[in-house]
Symmetry: C2
Subunit: 125 residues, 2 copies
DNA sequence: CATAGTGTACTACCGGAATAGTACACCGAC
DNA sequence: GTCGGTGTACTATTCCGGTAGTACACTATG
């Protein structure tokens, strides 16, 4: 269970993002069932209401759908997931650039950072 | 006034980070006075208590110091600021890499991202 | 001295996040 | 039908962030 909560942000939002990331990277595939509200709550050590809220919001977004009495499932709309993945990628780059711009790294620092990034991106698979 | 609040995180934390960024990038220099609690509160459209809390925490961290009746000031410890700057840089890279790793970009995507980063880092100054 | 501008402390109140507990309707399998 | 597992709805409670308002001690300026 790889989920560490940021204590400064609502848990239900972090659960939502966590589910999205798992679906987007293929750990959860279109049509897959996500854990039951009670199971996930026990696993994450949070209240079932909190998980239920995350599921509810994700369903409102069309990211999940539920079958009463059966469970909650990842949308079967693969294009939806692909779009979300693209959005997350762009957002990550955007965030990073904004953060850097504010710190105004020198050309040397910038070069050093790029080197680190290049190494990491090619190493870890 | 370039500060947009993320509604999912406490305002006082975002003010703290904002001050730090300004100090670290030299907009605010060691020993400079920061706006009064009331002024900044009016400028950011928040309650003076919220700004006061941000200042209080930053003073507890040794990042600010106050002179009663005069105002609140950036620490004169330049090394402290340099260390903070380094910390923010590393944190930005770390965050970015974690975000990417989760999305598992293909080699082609990774190459495209690096290209975007390189262009942005060399362009915008 | 008086005044205005500092930070600071305090009370009161409101709203949202999270917890705890209970209950209900639905589905599948025995 | 019964039973266990689903999602869902609801109330009550606690905690914390944020707001509002007041008051006080300090400093610089005049």
């Amino acid at each position: 269970m790889g989920l560490r909560f940021d204590p400064t942000r609502p848990i239900y939002l972090q659960i939502m993002e966590w589910i999205k990331r798992q679906a987007v990277r293929g750990v959860l595939r279109p049509g897959d069932r996500v854990p039951s509200v009670r199971d996930l709550a026990r696993e994450l050590q949070v209240n079932p209401n909190t998980v239920a809220r995350a599921y509810r919001e994700l369903e409102r977004e069309g990211f999940l759908f539920t079958l009463r009495g059966q469970g909650t499932f990842i949308t079967r709309d693969a294009a939806r997931l692909a779009r979300e993945r693209q959005r997350l990628l762009e957002q990550a780059v955007q965030h990073f650039l904004e953060g850097l711009r504010e710190l105004q790294p020198s050309p040397e620092e910038a070069e050093r950072l790029m080197e680190i990034l290049r190494r990491q991106l090619h190493d870890d698979r």
